[in-house]
């Protein structure tokens, strides 16, 4: 029994760790799409963010400067998407795809040329990366309080600052979108840009602002991969996380808390994949690991098919705003 609980807690802890970059990227996706910009470039922004963060952190010995660099580069890429879709009214999906290709190519070409380690960046020492934070009294509580003590120690404590930040950001997103003037305008511009324009608010400016937010969050998600979960950038290290975040955003129906829960669900699937590899389950026998890999995508398709509620995107998403109509 004791063992089972500890096992469960350690699965929950790795769920949280695995879900963190998805949560950050999904929040970025929500900002972009609620403002009317389709963003399938989450993956690319995370990838360049991870690369820039690990590169700068290894050069200047500071995780915070690394994080800042990752966020800055991701914002730059996000603004490129903005220029293509807002200024030049290009297709949102095409632009996002282009930037994803560019991100995979650039990180590999520059990484190989600069470090000559097959696309990897130099290993980061513990001073150069984000390390786990142990909350006060974790060991004491784990030793003296049954169940809740170990829960506190394993599940709540021992994550890096970015993990805690991700959950703070979800709360901030709820507040931003629901309670602030900016958030209401942002949502309006994704539904009825004409109305926003009539009210004398600049549609492009709002969309650019949202995309800057997307860049910041994706950069942070990328930095999490290369500086928190790992200690270097490796080729294609985001491994489709951007698309899972996109799926989570849709699964959460473009709402921050629901998207966070979807990310946690997808994180749990990945955690189980690692845990159940080669193990036989009662009734079903051995489950192939690939089942856990594809489940997020299968679930999202089922959701999109309308079998689990209905996912309705923001009304004006993907459509360029033409002022003179």
């Amino acid at each position: 029994m004791e063992d089972l609980i500890l096992n469960l807690f350690s699965i929950l802890a790795s769920t949280i760790r695995l879900a963190t970059p998805l949560i950050l990227a999904a929040m970025g996706g929500i900002l972009a799409e609620r403002s009317g910009t389709v963003d399938i470039g989450l993956e690319g922004k995370m990838l360049v963010g991870a690369f820039a963060a690990a590169t700068v952190a290894s050069l200047v010995q500071s995780p915070w400067l690394g994080l800042a660099a990752g966020m800055a580069v991701a914002v730059a890429m996000s603004l490129l998407h903005g220029v293509a879709t807002i200024r030049y009214k290009g297709d949102h999906v095409v632009s996002g795809m282009a930037l994803n290709f560019l991100a995979s190519g650039l990180t590999l070409v520059l990484g190989q040329a600069w470090f000559e380690q097959g696309g990897q960046t130099p290993m980061l020492s513990n001073e150069q990366r984000f390390t786990p934070i142990f909350l006060p009294g974790a060991d004491y509580l784990a030793a003296n309080v049954p169940v809740l003590g170990p829960f506190y120690k394993t599940v709540l404590s021992g994550h890096t600052i970015l993990v805690y930040l991700a959950f703070v950001i979800v709360a901030a997103m709820v507040f931003l979108l629901g309670q602030t003037r900016f958030g209401l305008r942002l949502r309006a511009v994704g539904e009825e840009p004409n109305a926003v324009d009539t009210a004398g608010i600049s549609v492009p400016l709002l969309r650019y602002q949202a995309l800057i937010g997307t860049g910041l969050l994706c950069g942070m998600a990328g930095a999490y991969y290369s500086m928190s979960q790992n200690a270097a950038f490796a080729r294609e290290m985001t491994a489709g996380g951007g698309y899972i975040a996109l799926a989570a955003m849709i699964f959460g129906k473009w709402r921050p808390v629901s998207a966070m829960l979807a990310c946690l669900l997808f994180g749990l699937l990945t955690a189980l994949e690692a845990r159940l590899q080669g193990q036989s389950l009662p009734w079903v026998g051995e489950v192939p690991t690939q089942v856990f890999q594809v489940l997020p995508y299968v679930l999202t398709v089922i959701l999109l098919a309308g079998f689990i509620g209905k996912a309705v995107p923001p009304k004006a998403v993907g459509r360029p705003y033409v002022k003179e109509r």
């Binding site: 399938i40 490129l80 220029v83 293509a84 879709t85 030049y88 009214k89 290009g90 297709d91 999906v93 095409v94 632009s95 795809m97 282009a98 930037l99 994803n100 290709f101 560019l102 991100a103 995979s104 190519g105 650039l106 590999l108 070409v109 520059l110 190989q112 040329a113 000559e116 696309g119 489709g240 698309y243 996109l246 799926a247 849709i250 192939p288 690939q290 089942v291 890999q293 594809v294 995508y297 299968v298 999202t300 398709v301 999109l304 098919a305 309308g306 995107p313």
Partner: protein, 385 residues
């Protein structure tokens, strides 16, 4: 409109009407050409940033890729795959659909070809096996596009999102199959057993040699002919058949198509089935024609590169053919690159791919608007004189 026009006095006939419609060479050559140059210019900056000369790099890429003794036949081999995946994007595009699932459709078709070949390679001779491979590639490729098509048509699930998801689902499924059920029992590589020699067609090299043409060894095979036939078929389908007209009508204006009595469901499903089948044919080139076995991740991004090919080729079969050759050369060239410049990784092709899609499609108007204005000004001037 017509009544108002008839009440006006007859207009003075003009020698050449001035419209803002661009001639074919503007849309087909000049504008894409400038966009390609822009993309290559930015890629050159990356090469400069790496510390190599862009001109030397491009020279190595093109010389290697176009030399008949060395890279040309490999260029054509890559171009074959790209024609299939590029045409796949093109057909869907004309029906107003963006199929970015070519990668998954081609991968799943690889499973179909492998299953058919491994099952029948003991009984069928090479020409029959070739036909069976084509058939199974078409069936499996189309099947993988069917669910996204149906969900788009009947459930309103956006085809872009579902095809992305299906790319990953195909990868998971194939990973599973190749990890166990159909994996070769010999060797460490994650692949199926080789298809029996007797069921395989010889590659192009011995055929060309017999005709007195010396080429370097490559994977080039008969699938190139299938690809060229597909170029012709897609052209014929889109512009010379009722179905093609219906698909293009639906793509341009779904509501008009509905009033004309076309069913949106069948338009979407037909377009996606053809698109998936074309993407699937890449498996004939690779799994049957080249490797003679199914290898893990055999598609290697060719499905995605097809998006760049189609967009650069302006979604016209001939444009797809031309840009498939261009990207085939760049792809082959990027593999040569590493021998001459070890500092440049072959993934430079991804940078070029991204930049081409960005400048030729996403940022289309950056180049198009000023060039169209320039053309119209020039035309107005010629009338004024």
């Amino acid at each position: 409109m017509s009544e108002a026009a008839s009440s006006l006095p007859a207009p003075v006939p003009k020698p050449k009407p001035i419209t803002n419609k661009m001639p074919w060479w503007m849309n087909g050559l000049a504008i894409p050409g400038v966009q390609l140059l822009l993309a290559l210019a930015v890629a050159s900056l990356v090469v400069l940033g790496v510390g190599e000369s862009p001109f030397a790099t491009l020279k190595v890429m093109l010389v290697g890729a176009l030399d008949p003794q060395a890279g040309l036949s490999s260029t054509l081999y890559y171009a074959t795959s790209l024609i299939f995946t590029g045409l796949a994007v093109t057909v869907a595009f004309h029906a107003g659909l963006f199929n970015i699932g070519g990668e998954g459709q081609a991968y799943f078709a690889g499973l179909g070809v492998a299953l058919a070949c491994l099952w029948l390679d003991g009984t069928l001779n090479a020409p029959l096996m070739f036909l069976v491979a084509i058939l199974s590639a078409v069936l499996f490729g189309a099947a993988w596009a069917l669910v996204p098509a149906y969900l788009q048509a009947r459930r309103g699930a956006h085809v872009v999102v579902t095809t992305i998801m299906f790319n990953y689902i195909a990868a998971g499924l194939l990973n599973y199959m190749l990890a166990g059920p159909i994996r070769s029992t010999e060797g460490m590589a994650i692949e199926t057993r080789p298809i029996a020699e007797a069921a395989l067609l010889p590659k192009a090299q011995p055929w060309l040699q017999a005709m007195g043409i010396e080429v370097g060894p490559s994977y080039l095979n008969l699938s190139l002919l299938v690809a060229l036939i597909c170029v012709g078929l897609v052209w014929w389908l889109l512009w010379f058949t009722r179905l093609g007209y219906a698909l293009r009508t639906y793509g341009q204006n779904p509501r008009a198509a509905k009033y004309a009595g076309l069913s949106a469901t069948s338009m979407i499903v037909i377009a996606m089935l053809i698109s998936g089948a074309l993407a699937g044919l890449m498996a004939v080139n690779d799994v049957y024609g080249a490797q003679g076995r199914l290898v893990l991740n055999y598609t290697g991004g060719m499905g995605f590169l097809g998006i760049a090919v189609a967009l650069m080729g302006r979604n016209h079969p001939l444009g797809v053919l031309a840009s498939a050759l261009l990207f085939g050369a760049l792809y082959q060239g990027s593999t040569d690159l590493q021998l001459e410049f070890p500092r440049i990784s072959p993934e430079l092709i991804l940078v070029i791919q991204g930049l081409v899609v960005f400048f030729a499609a996403a940022l289309d108007r950056l180049v198009r608007d000023p060039m169209e204005r320039w053309y119209l000004r020039r035309q107005l001037k010629s009338v004024a004189h």
